[in-house]
Structures are given as C-alpha cells and as structure tokens.
Assembly symmetry: D2
C-alpha cells in the first residue's frame, strides 16, 4: 500500500483478496502496510490489484512461507502459556517427562521429580504413534485426566501429542501445548485443524524433512489462524546407526535465520541413548534453542516405551545443572518452575 493509504483503502484491498478466493495477510513494516495475497490464482493478475485505490505496487513473494518468515516479521514470536511461561523470549524452557503415561504412580513421581530439577512443562504420551501395530499404543483417554492432575498438583504446564483430527480437540481441551509429532509433520488435515484450536502447537520436524518443509508445515498452521507455533528439532534419519537419529542442531540457527518462530530440541529422540542425551542437551542450548524436551522415567529400564533413551531423575537433575550453566554463560535466563503458580 502507499504510505498515505487510508484505512478504508486497506480494508477494501483485504475484502477484494477474500472475494478472489485467496487469503489476505496484513503486515506493518517500516511505517508501511503490506498485504499478502496467499494462495489462489488471482495473485498473478497484476493490473487488477494495482488498479485498487491506495495500492502502490504488486510485488512477488520472496519467501515460500510468508507467515513463518522473519522477512515479514522481524521480531521473534513469543508463545505465552498460562501462568506466565513464555517461550521464545530468550529464556530457556525445559519440558520433561516419560515417553508414555503408564500409570498414576509413574506420572506423579516423574512430574514431581522433573519440577524439583527445574522443568516447567511436563511431557507424557497419552496416545503413542508406534511403528508396530502390536506395540503398546498408550493408555489413551484416561491419560488426559492424569495430565490434569499433574497440572493441579505441581503447577507444571502439560503437553501431549495428538495423533489425529478427532483426538486433537480432546487434547487441546486438556493440555497447554498440543504436540504434532514427527510422523505427522505433513499430515495436512491435522495441521489445518491445529490452526483452529486456540492452543499453542509444538510441531516436530519429520525424520527426512528439510527446514524449508518444516517451515511450510508451520505455515499451514499459521495460515489457518494459529500464530502460536513452536518448532522442534528431534533428529533426522541418518546412515550411522550408533544413534537412533542424527540430531541436526544446525537446524536451530537455520530456523532462527529464516523465521521468527521459537524452536526447541529433543535430544532424547535425537540420540536414542541416554548416555548421549546430556551432551546434546547442552549443545542444543549453546546453539540457541529456546527450550528442550527430555524424556525422564523413574525406572528407565522398565519403561513401556523408549526406556533406552530416558534419563532417571538423578541424571536429569545433573543435566539441568549443566544446561543452566551454559544458558547463564550465554546471558540467557532459565525459567524456573516457581514462576509457575500451582493450580494456575
């Protein structure tokens, strides 16, 4: 729009974009309003748009993911959770908990332990995506009530994964952050639905997705109306099976360069072996991750899933001390659980 474009003119352009079947995206930058024409075929009709009052010029998009791009929004997105927990503001957030909910005792013991060590978000799988149809698929629905209890008892925020559109609504009601897992990164029906749930979404990178593809999947959620997307690097498929996946920490500075969205790292899935988790957790923080997601189990060797990559509470407490030291050295605060009100 021209610098002197009037609000009514801006509204008229937005209405015209909607009428054309495309989606308008409004941005303010350097005292000037930019309106994106996303999707549809009308974007190609230069003359049509340049004829509208207040329009200065129609420019081609220089990024495939305008809503996720730092080019259109230079300042970082901060995802605000209830209880004063912000993700993406420079502080470090740690999410921890078991791969899967097994029973009440396991959940509560782990939650108290990770809170004591400094985690602020509790993670635990309710429905689990499993490679084999015969593997433990999660406790399902009753797990949501256990998460609610963790929140009430410990003040921790909670996150769990939604596997499908149907489960998404139930999960969104029950938790503070909804996780879209690695295998679902290109489940577009799920991404579109996640764009309409009114809850922050943690989007994990697919095992062979490029960073551009990750940002395009985030764009699905953003374009459907949900601005609160947190990305997660959790390892890509590699040829060296000395680790379960290859944790691609360079994705963190690459995302920071291209996008305003926060990004965290999951060194548990990223390595698959508990003795490698602390080093990669420290490295992720040093690389600039806004947070960590770490698997912790009270008795890893008896875990129903992913025990090999889970830390016990003592090892997790050591990890927390180390990552705090790294974050502090780089001038980054670590958000402590006492910032989170119990029962909030």
């Amino acid at each position: 729009m021209r610098r002197d474009a009037r609000p009514a003119e801006v509204d008229q352009v937005i209405a015209a974009i909607e009428a054309s079947g495309a989606r308008p995206a409004r941005l303010a930058r350097e005292g000037r309003i930019l309106i994106g024409i996303l999707g549809g075929e009308a974007a190609a009709e230069t003359a049509r748009w340049e004829a509208l009052p207040g329009v200065e010029a129609l420019l081609p998009l220089t990024t495939p993911f305008p809503l996720a791009s730092r080019e259109w929004q230079p300042q970082p997105t901060v995802v605000r959770l209830p209880g004063g927990l912000d993700i993406g503001d420079g502080g470090l957030i740690v999410m921890a908990g078991p791969c899967a909910i097994e029973d009440e005792a396991q959940v509560l013991a782990t939650a108290h332990a990770v809170r004591a060590a400094g985690a602020t978000v509790f993670r635990a799988g309710v429905w689990k995506p499993r490679t084999s149809p015969y593997a433990f698929q999660g406790v399902g629905e009753p797990g949501l009530a256990l998460l609610a209890r963790v929140r009430a008892e410990t003040g921790l925020r909670v996150i769990t994964e939604a596997l499908d559109v149907e489960g998404l609504a139930r999960v969104a009601e029950a938790v503070d952050i909804v996780q879209i897992g690695s295998r679902s990164m290109q489940n577009y029906a799920l991404l579109r639905a996640a764009g309409r749930i009114g809850r922050p979404v943690l989007l994990k990178r697919g095992a062979s997705a490029t960073v551009t593809e990750l940002l395009l999947s985030a764009e699905y959620i953003l374009a459907a109306g949900n601005p609160d997307v947190i990305l997660c690097e959790r390892g890509i498929r590699g040829f060296d099976h000395s680790t379960r996946n290859t944790l691609d920490l360079s994705a963190i500075p690459v995302v920071k360069h291209l996008s305003h969205l926060p990004i965290i790292a999951d060194p548990s899935h990223g390595t698959g072996h508990r003795h490698l988790v602390p080093a990669m957790a420290r490295a992720a923080v040093a690389a600039g991750a806004d947070g960590l997601m770490v698997e912790v189990h009270p008795d890893p060797d008896r875990a129903l899933s992913d025990g090999e990559q889970s830390l016990d509470p003592a090892a997790f407490a050591t990890l927390m001390r180390e990552v705090k030291a790294v974050a502090t050295a780089l001038g980054r605060p670590v958000i402590a659980p006492d910032r989170v009100a119990v029962g909030a």
Copy 2:
C-alpha cells in the same frame, strides 16, 4: 497346535486369544495349524496357553510383521480387482494418469490415451497433499465423479489418494484401489481405517522409511482386517538432488524376499524428471515389480502439479512398448486393457 488337534480345540484357542485382548491370526502350514497371538500382553504367559487342549507349544514370533511376512504365508498375495484384473500373480499392471485432476477434458483425454497405450488402471489426484498451503490442493469432491466417468467410458480401473479418515470413506466408495501416500505411511489412524474399507489399498513407502517400517505399516492395515495391500516404492530422500528422490529399486527384491505382498514402483516421483522415467520404469520391471505407476499428462508443461515429471502420451506409449519387451523377455505377461470389460 498339535497335528491331531481337533477343530473345536482350534476354536477354543482362538476364543481364548480374543478374550485375552489380543488378536488371533490363523495360518495353515505343512499340514499343521499355527495360531498367532498378536498384540496384548497375554502372549508372554506361556503356561496359560500351553495348558489349552490341542496346543503343542508356544513359540516366539520370529518376525515383527507376521501377517505381511512370507514366513507365515509363503505363496504370494494376489489382489483381485473387478473385471478380472489381478495384481501380484506374475503379470505386469500399469497404472497411469495425471498427477492431479484439472478438468474433464484433461482427464478423459489422458484416460483414453493411457488405455490405448496399454495401461489398465487410471490414476489421478483428487485431493493433493502439497508441501505448501498455497499450492493447488486438488479439485476435491467433483473429481470423484470424473473418475467414475473414466471407469464407465474406458473400462479402466481407477485409483486415487485419500488424505484423511474422513475422505477415506468417500474415496473407497468411488474407486477400485485407495492410495495411501508417502507422507501418510505412518498415519496410523488412516492405516487402521484403511483396514476396514473393503477395498484394495496401495501403500506408498515414506521418504525415509525402511522396508521393515513399510511392512509394519502394511501390518496395521492387514491386522485391521484388509488383506488386499499393494506396496509401492516411490523413491527415498537422498543427498543427490539431480533426482527429486532416490528410487530404491532394491526394495523390490527385498520386499519379495520378506513378504508375500505385491509391490509396484513409481518412477515419476522416484526421479522427478520425465527424461529419467522410461529407464527407471524398465529397471523396475526387470527388478521384479508387479506393476508401475506413471504420471502422464496431455500437456506436461502446463500441468498444475508435477509437470516436470509427467510424460506426454507419445512418450508413455514408447515406455509401454519397452516395459512390455522387458516383461516378456522375463516370461511375465503384461495385462492388457481389453481384459478389462468396459462398464464393468
């Protein structure tokens, strides 16, 4: 079961497995009945099962995908389509058509052209999974009516992709084979639903899935009750971007070695460049593929999606002559479209 086990004893074991929460799978092999206990935790209780009348011994499973495994079913699965079209019986089936349905003229012209060249199944995307939310997402619902018209006019069988559980039912009603795409290979809700639709399913390998993971995804469909699964190799993610994907033809003999399920190859997505498609189509047939899926467009340079990898009808006709020559040389018949009754 013991060799002399009576039918009532077999039924009793099956009922006991069901009562335990597991799924029974009955197989006959070398004059003896084997009953698999799939899932659940009761499988570990050796004494419980060995106490049942007629049971000889409880053996551990030696394969993670018993229903898909050649170990449990040595003879190949033949998927029978209406009109006498069999997939997996040694013959070669060719599926061809545009990446996406654009309009009636494009669909019918392509269908007649690929039939004339010898294809027996028509492929065309109705809903398209696209990396970008702003890319053409397919014509949707009206596309199904066009596929019905192709079937009526040409006698070709039709296949299209279902992206989600909701769409699956509608697709299953309208087509002969339902495709589960590469990005959905580990969409377990979709796989389970595909196990209950009563239609053959074409399951494409994920871009970074191992063959074992592909077979485990097939196992989800088989375990849900649908025995008609056709696998498809369509290229894995590689480092050399001179091709869009790396078509891993060794997956064909690996699958044949491990499983009784038929497998076809998609050299269009597997290479991403039309000048590479014929060579890889010939190679796939020589490697033992039960069929091919090839993108054909009447005017590839104007295609709304994947034009770069689509053949025009003349190039497709040449490809068909070449693959027939290879199949014939290896003693394999090529199923011709006149075997398929018009209006069947």
Copy 3:
C-alpha cells in the same frame, strides 16, 4: 573460432592458452572449432582472447566438466580393449570374478566358470581396501601374475584395483582396465596419475558422491590425458541397512544424459546380499548400463572377503541368462567371450 578460421590461427590460440598456464581443449562441433580454456585465471580476460586472429567470441563454460560432458561431445565414448572388446557401443559387457584373489585354484576355477557363463572380463582384487587394518588386505604382487595367467588361459580381459600411485604403475602394466575404487574417487593424486597410464580406467562412484562429483573426478582423469574412463555405480550410503548400500540406478540415465562416458553397475557391492544381486543386475541392464561387475566365488560361504554378496557359478550362469534376455529384448547385443581371442 570463426567458421573461416585458418589452422594456423587455431594453433596460435592453442599456444596462447598453453602460454597462459591454462589447458586448451579442442572440439569440433557443427562445422566449427571450439577451444576450451580449462583452469588458470586468464580465462577471465575476455579482451585478450577476442583480440587473437580467427577468434569470434569468448563464451563462458556452461558445464563444470567440459571434457566429460555430452554438451561438448555428443557421441558416446567407446572404450576399446585388446581383442575386440568395446565398452560403451550399445553392447553389454559383463565383468565377473571373486572379490579377492585367494589362491591359484580359486582364481582359475572362477575364471573358467564365468567365461563359460558369458563374462568377458575377469575381476579379482589383488590389493584390497579394507575398513579394518586387521582384515585380509589381499595377496598383493603375486596376484598380478595370476591375473596374467587367467588372461593367457581363458582369453578374458582382466581388471583389478590400484590403491595408490605407487601400485598404479604395476597394475597398469598387468591388466586391461585399472579400477579406482569407491573410497578413492576423490584421491586426486591417484586420479591425476590414472590420467597418464595409457590404460582404460574404471572409476567407481564414492559412497556419498553426487553424479556431478563423479563426473568431476572423471574430469581429473580426462584432463590429465586419458580419454578411456568407464564409470561405475556401486551403491550409495543409505539409512536402510536391509542392503549394504543403496544401488542408485537412476545414476545410469542421469550420467547418460549429462555425459558421453560409459557406465556400468556393480549389484554385488550395491546390495551386499547375494539373493538380491540377480534382480538388481537385470534392473541395471534395463536402466541402460553398458555393463555389469558381479562377484562370483566357487564357494561363497568360505570367501576371505565379501562372501555374503558373492554368487556361486551356477547362480551366476542363471543371472547371465536373465540379463541376456533383458538386453536382447531392448535390442542390445551381449558381447560373448568367444569374441575375445585366447592369448590375445
């Protein structure tokens, strides 16, 4: 050069290029002479070159590998071995033999067996590149005499690998084709030396080399003066360990599109398992490979190296019948060993 450039003018330009420190490459195309300026910094001095008599214009190179590129030499390179064996002329050449020479009996038995089945080149490792310093490193020097004996007794051409510059001269004296192995694809000292040996060179693709990098390595040999380079696809490193490597057959049509050099495939290293070799051998031929390299051992289970991927003579004979059928179906002759004179 201008169409009417005189030979003396051409010679003058070539001399000027040499004087500048660059390497001249002379090509004739469509009745016009092109002279490449390869390497050096003088290529950038447009005015200098355009001032020379007979020069029409200085054009930028459009390919990074002008000598290997089909753009500069549209017709295929045919590598001619003694005894009337041509590689790259449309016929199919099969190289077969054990991974490593073990003893005289093994070598001669294998050589006679592969000749009887239709191979024309005998392969056998004399010095072996082994991942572990403690693994069998090959019989060394005496192996060369055994290869000479194979040639005299059977009329087969022979090929073996040279591991370093020092061994290259000895190997070049003793064999018909010198192999540069996968691990040496970017051993530039070895490539340059291979450019000066006056023997055909088989250059294997590195485990994570792109096709462009393979052609640039070939360019090292070509630029050093040896035009007889045969490429070999032998599998790239992949994430699915159900095969030892991922045989990337699409490299064959990609190379044919970009280059005039012949290319063969090695399904033995490409799969690592003997039961997968025949399917991939057939596929390679169908994809357009100019030849095959196959490991054959009289007693694979007792081989000192790579027995798991070696065929026994009977399996190799079956493979030969199949690849002949495929080649014949595609109008390609299979070069038979009786074309090769014994003792030639």
Copy 4:
C-alpha cells in the same frame, strides 16, 4: 597373562606373536597385562597360545578397534604439542586460519588476528583437495615456508593437510600437526604412512563415514605406530542443502564413549555458511569437543576458496568470547596463546 607372569614370559609371547605374522599390542589393566594379537590368522589357534608359559587364557576381541578403544585404554589420550600445548586434557584448543594460503600478507594478517582473539593453532591449506580439476589447487610448496614464518612470528602451532604419501613427509617436517582430510579418511596408504611420521595427526571424518569407520581409520594410524591421533567431526552428507554438510555433533559424545582419542569439531565445513558458524562452535564445545577448527579470512568475500563459510577477524573474536564463556561454565579451561612461547 596370568597375574604372576614374569617379564620374560611376556616378552616370549610378544615375540611369538610377531613370529606368527600378527602385530602384538601390550596393555596393562587392573594390575594385569593383556597382549593383543592384531591381524594375521594365528589368533584363531587357541591351543597354540594357551600353551605358552605365563598365558592364562585367549579371549576374543570385543572391539574391532582395540588400540582406539576406551575398553583397552580407559584414560584419555593427551596429544602434546611443542610449547606446552596439550590436546585432550579437558582444555579447549582453537585452530583457526584461512581455508587456503593465498599470499604472505593474507597469512600473516590472519595469524596475528586469530592469535589476538585466542587461537593457539594456525590452520591454512597449502595443497587443497578440490572437487574440480580447474579450481584453485593451493599455492603448494612455498606455503610451507609461510607456515614456518607464522610459527616464528606468532608462536602459534601450525597445521596443514597432506594429500598424498609423497607430500606427507614434507608436511610432517614443516608443521606441528598433519591433517588427513575428509576425502582421505579411507586412503589407507596415507593412513599407514601417517602412522610412521612421528607427528600428531588430525583425522577428519569422511562425509559418509560412521563413527566406527572413523575409529577404524584411526586404528590404521595407531597400528602403524603413531599414538597421537586427534579426530575431527566436520559434517556428514545430508539431504537438506540449507547447510553444506550436516554437522553431526552427536559424534562427539559417541567417540568419547567408545574411544580415548581427542575429538574436535569444524563448524566451518560443517555448515558452509558463516552466519551459522558461531552457534555450531558454541554447541560443539558444549557437546564436549576438545577443540575447534574455524576458517577465518581477512576479507572472506574475496577468498580464493570457501569464503562463504569464513569469518572475518571481528566475527571470530566474538565467537572466541562465546566459546570461552561456554567452556568456562562447564569447568573447562581455554588454552590461551600466551601459554605458547614465540619461536618455540
């Protein structure tokens, strides 16, 4: 050996191993002497060895790389350079300098700048391995004299790459550490020669080498008699071309778990883009790397090679401040250049 074995008995066993054609390796562990039989076939003859006086038992090797393995040598190897510079003792060593030597001014300016910022080793390519035969191949021999001058003027230790056996001797004479580059990781002739030069060797991981293969290549150098091997992670080949390579930092804790050898990281080649280098340098230190190798150029945009990934001196100084902060936070000293005597 038995706990009470006499020295003469130990010597006798060692002599017997040598006589058998194998290589003996002597280790002391928990008050007991172990003697490895490396290579050869005699290791299988249990009775032969157990009959020798003082021998308690012949045990199978449990690691493929006994000399590199932490199992045989639990304490870390510390590589000691002249002037009191130790690598692998817990401190952090930074190697920095241009990709390639261009001229005296560039070399000296960079050396003084990196020393001022805190680097202790100067890196600069004299002979460069280049993918294209037409790219700048390094200044060659005269570069060695410039490195000597850097050492004399600044007190920095110097490192450069040797490309072949011939160059190795000259490089070894001129520098403090000899680099074996990524493309040469499986150049076994070069590795064996590097085992005999009496200088520390920096061995870079190949672009598609597993950690096991890296350690087996180190084993070649160790087995040839050189205990001073430093490993280097410099990025593996990946599918996402938003970085030049995928820096696999998990290799650092994996190596630390398996081996006693020091390991450093090269975030310049590991990312290929200068804006990503600082984050990955910090991450490597946090992951436990014993050092860094960073490309610095006085004017990166005019560098003759790899300018895109080179930092200018100011950016390098910032990087040094950040990595020192991370190292200090984790209780690790950063070795400062004033520990290194000028002219040492």
